[in-house]
């Protein structure tokens, strides 16, 4: 199962847990499964059916351009972090 690092501002929803192992073939499925275990978490990560603006998802060390559609493997590690924007 993929390992999700829970952003510190969301740990109130996971009972203080920093990391959670979740099933899912894509980031979207992982978030859906997180929601099933920790209700309210999806609404904090998504804006409608998209990742929140100014939020990036990091899968296996790389910032994902595919975001919710990014494929996830059983040993993937997923982080959510503020998005970087350049000038």
């Amino acid at each position: 199962m993929a390992r999700v690092i829970i952003p510190s501002l969301l740990r109130e929803l996971t009972g203080g847990r920093h990391e959670v192992e979740v099933e899912g073939a894509t980031v979207r499925e992982v978030i859906d499964n997180l929601e099933a275990r920790f209700p309210g978490l999806r609404a904090r990560l998504l804006d409608g059916d998209r990742l929140r603006p100014n939020l990036a998802v990091v899968v296996d060390g790389e910032v994902s351009a595919l975001k919710l559609r990014h494929k996830v493997s059983a040993d993937s590690e997923i982080h959510f972090m503020p998005a970087l924007s350049g000038g």
Partner: protein, 749 residues
């Protein structure tokens, strides 16, 4: 350090294709546009930093002979709050619209309130004076710290603090709080051998591009809108205008003119929707150009900031914990680059325990725009001063301290991403071994400072197309606006791919109807991403050349070889000129296009060394010597890489020593001219020495790594550390202007 020679074109220094036009004054900029029947527009701006608009009466202005149109926010669609993606960033369209023309409130001195189009600029100016705006003046709030207080005047009544999707319940100026956390900083601080905690402030500063914003619009009778403007991205202008005016993108063509600098300040629109509305009303083309005072007062500067930094190390010199509190001014509407500041601040260091709290705070200043590594200079200034102090307390050389703690491939960024192949350690080594660092600096009031910097860079969407000419040359149309020599760097990558000389490629910049979608020239992405499109384009052309030659020779394409512009098969030979000039025999015209969404952009690191001398009588800081080492990936055109570094350092020196917005208590900008807003000139800077450390980015076909932004990240920190060694006082406020230096010297006594 240089890579072994493996390329024919890449790494050479050809003259830029647009060079002649630019040095002879023939290049066409937006202000050069002259159209039949064209009107001249001007914008009425708020004299108040914070006020409610009670009424706007435009009747007298409309009645003035020569006036053809007057517009206010009432002419704009009243948009709902909607987040729209704009390249790598996002914008709230309601705020964007309200920034173009204020609807209910003015939120900063210079906020646009109304605009006029007239037969001459003088009539337009007279008409502005006839517009009667009634205001209820409100108390302004000008810094993040003031704006965060519970009793601060509120700018946007509907604003609630967003904490990763959780909204606050009361009106506030804090638009967003975000947090990056790893490990246990409290425990690490408690166990540390050395702890340094400091607070810092930085001033609001402007990008300082030489060419002011301008826009000419023609809203034709068939409702097709054409816009000529100075922008970093034509497609971004098209998309913003479409959203703000609620018209289809298919109705809009944006023609990007040559651009006299942008540095992030020409991504968002200011004049374009106004010019379009005026043209629609007047049924004539309308041109608007900003004055320098308008540019400074009303276009996006970058954030002033307040920061608290705490870092700790063990006796072996390992950094064990880092904590930051960052509050950045967003200006009038949410969207400061504080998230990027959080990404930059501790990025060069390997950390197990880190906590970064970031606050995006609205204040009564122009809405912050991107500025070259947005948010990075503020953050790195604060962190690098603390890192310097840690090294000093441990008795370590500042570069050795950074080498010991520096990130390498496989280490993790505080946000969770893993560093691919990077050249930070090589860059530190190059700086340490440089003639500058190995030299001695002697004399009173002289000091040497070092600082490092990181920028994440970006890839994104880019397109290019090409066609073969009868003389064997290739016309290349690229979607990227050329600010810093990208016609050359992109043409060079196509030439390298095709194996032809670079002067066989004739590059030009396309408009939104003539080339595929391309994000703006920002994020240090253009040579990386549009260059990648050129690489793909070259490979497509080669396949097409082979197919045409095979058909002509009546052989299978697999039998045709291509090298250096020549096709061969069984002793037969065709050049590109043969293919282009005999197109009737060769299957007709040959063209191709390529679009990419480039990923795997590699981050960039820089290490700067600066020597300064402080005049104790005046407080003036002279920069004696400056060396910038940087991991640049493969330097496609080394001269333009060096120029990017020179530019970043020059801007960083201005940020560090002189530049700041000065407001009075009512929030009126007092220094809206380049006489009073003090940017460095050539007389203020030494020759900036550069060290190009070429560690190719494995994520790009030619190893390209963005180079344009990271050189502005370290200068302020390096200067602060140098000034400390010159006068024995650490300055915690930017700019480190003569007045502040004198105050620091007086306090020391």
């Amino acid at each position: 350090m240089t890579v072994e020679k493996q390329y024919e074109v890449i790494g050479t220094r050809p003259i830029r294709p647009d060079g002649t036009d630019k040095v002879t004054g023939r290049a066409l900029y937006g202000a050069d546009i002259r159209l039949p029947g064209m009107l001249y527009g001007m914008v009425l701006r708020s004299p108040h930093a914070h006020a409610r608009i009670l009424s706007i009466d435009t009747r007298k202005a409309e009645a003035l002979p020569g006036v053809r149109a007057v517009v206010t926010a009432a002419d704009l669609p009243d948009l709902e709050s909607k987040i729209s993606e704009l390249g790598e960033g996002t914008i709230n369209l309601r705020y964007q619209s309200n920034n173009v023309l204020a609807r209910d409130k003015v939120l900063y001195f210079g906020h646009a309130v109304a605009a006029v189009a007239a037969t001459s600029i003088h009539v337009a100016e007279e008409a502005l004076g006839l517009i009667d705006v009634q205001y209820e003046v409100l108390k302004p709030v000008l810094t993040a710290q003031e704006a965060m207080r519970p009793d601060a005047p509120i700018l946007l009544e509907e604003l609630r603090t967003d904490e990763l999707g959780a909204k606050g319940t009361t009106p506030t100026n804090i638009a967003e709080h975000s947090q990056i956390s790893r490990g246990d900083v409290e425990k690490a601080f408690a166990e540390a051998a050395v702890v340094v905690e400091r607070e810092f402030t930085t001033a609001t500063v402007h990008q300082g591009y030489i060419e002011p914003q301008n826009s000419t619009a023609l809203w034709n009778v068939d409702d097709q809108l054409t816009i000529w403007c100075s922008t970093q991205g034509a497609f971004g202008v098209r998309d913003q205008v479409a959203e703000i005016l609620e018209i289809p993108v298919s109705k809009i063509k944006v023609i990007p003119m040559e651009i006299g600098g942008g540095f992030g300040g020409k991504i968002g629109v200011y004049l374009e929707p106004i010019a379009a509305l005026l043209s629609k009303k007047a049924r004539r083309p309308v041109k608007l150009t900003m004055s320098r005072a308008e540019v400074l007062a009303a276009t996006g500067p970058t954030s002033g900031s307040y920061m608290r930094i705490k870092m700790a190390a063990n006796r072996e010199g390992r950094i064990t914990a880092a904590q930051a509190y960052l509050a950045y001014e967003a200006g009038a509407y949410p969207g400061s680059p504080v998230g990027s500041g959080a990404a930059v601040i501790f990025a060069p260091y390997k950390l197990d325990n880190v906590l970064i709290d970031s606050y995006d705070v609205v204040v009564n200043k122009p809405r912050a725009a991107a500025y070259r590594a947005p948010g990075g200079t503020n953050a790195a200034y604060a962190a690098e001063v603390v890192v310097d102090e840690l090294a000093e307390k441990l008795g370590m050389d500042p570069i050795d301290f950074r080498i010991l703690n520096g990130v390498r491939e496989g280490d993790k960024h505080p946000g969770g991403s893993e560093y691919p192949r990077i050249g930070y350690i090589e860059t530190l080594q190059a700086a340490k071994n440089s003639p500058h660092y190995q030299s001695k600096l002697e004399g009173p009031y002289r000091g040497r400072g070092v600082a490092a910097g990181y920028w994440g860079n970006y890839g994104g969407k880019s397109s290019a197309s090409a066609s073969l000419n009868p003389d064997g040359t290739i016309s290349l149309v690229e979607g990227s606006v050329d600010i810093g020599g990208s016609r050359a760097s992109i043409a060079m990558q196509l030439a390298e791919t095709l194996g032809v000389a670079v002067d066989c490629i004739r590059p030009s910049v396309g408009d939104t109807d003539s080339v595929g979608y391309t994000e703006g020239t920002y994020g240090s992405r253009t040579t990386f991403a549009t260059g990648w499109a050129a690489y793909e384009l070259g490979n497509k052309l080669i396949q097409e050349f082979k197919a045409r030659a095979a058909a002509y020779w009546e052989v299978d394409p697999a039998q045709v070889a291509y090298a250096k512009g020549v096709l061969t098969c069984n002793g037969r030979r065709l050049t590109l000129a043969d293919l282009g000039s005999q197109m009737d025999d060769m299957g007709g015209p040959i063209s191709a296009s390529a679009s990419v969404r480039a990923e795997k952009w590699g981050p960039a690191f820089a290490v700067h060394i600066v020597d300064v001398e402080v005049d104790p009588e005046t407080g003036k800081v002279d920069v004696l010597r400056y060396t910038a080492a940087q991991d640049v990936g493969t330097a496609i055109h080394p001269s333009y890489v060096e120029s990017q570094i020179h530019g970043g350092v020059a801007q960083g020196v201005g940020w560090g020593l002189n530049e700041e917005y000065v407001y009075d208590a009512q929030g009126r900008l007092l220094n809206a001219s380049l006489l009073d807003y003090r940017m460095p000139t050539a007389l203020d800077l030494p020759m900036i020495e550069t060290i190009l450390v070429e560690v190719p980015n494995p994520g790009h076909p030619y190893g390209v790594r963005g180079v344009g932004e990271v050189p502005i990240v370290p200068p302020a920190g390096a200067l602060a550390n140098a000034i400390y060694r010159a006068i024995g006082v650490r300055l915690n406020e930017l700019p480190m202007s003569p007045a502040r230096i004198l105050a620091a010297l007086a306090a020391k006594k």
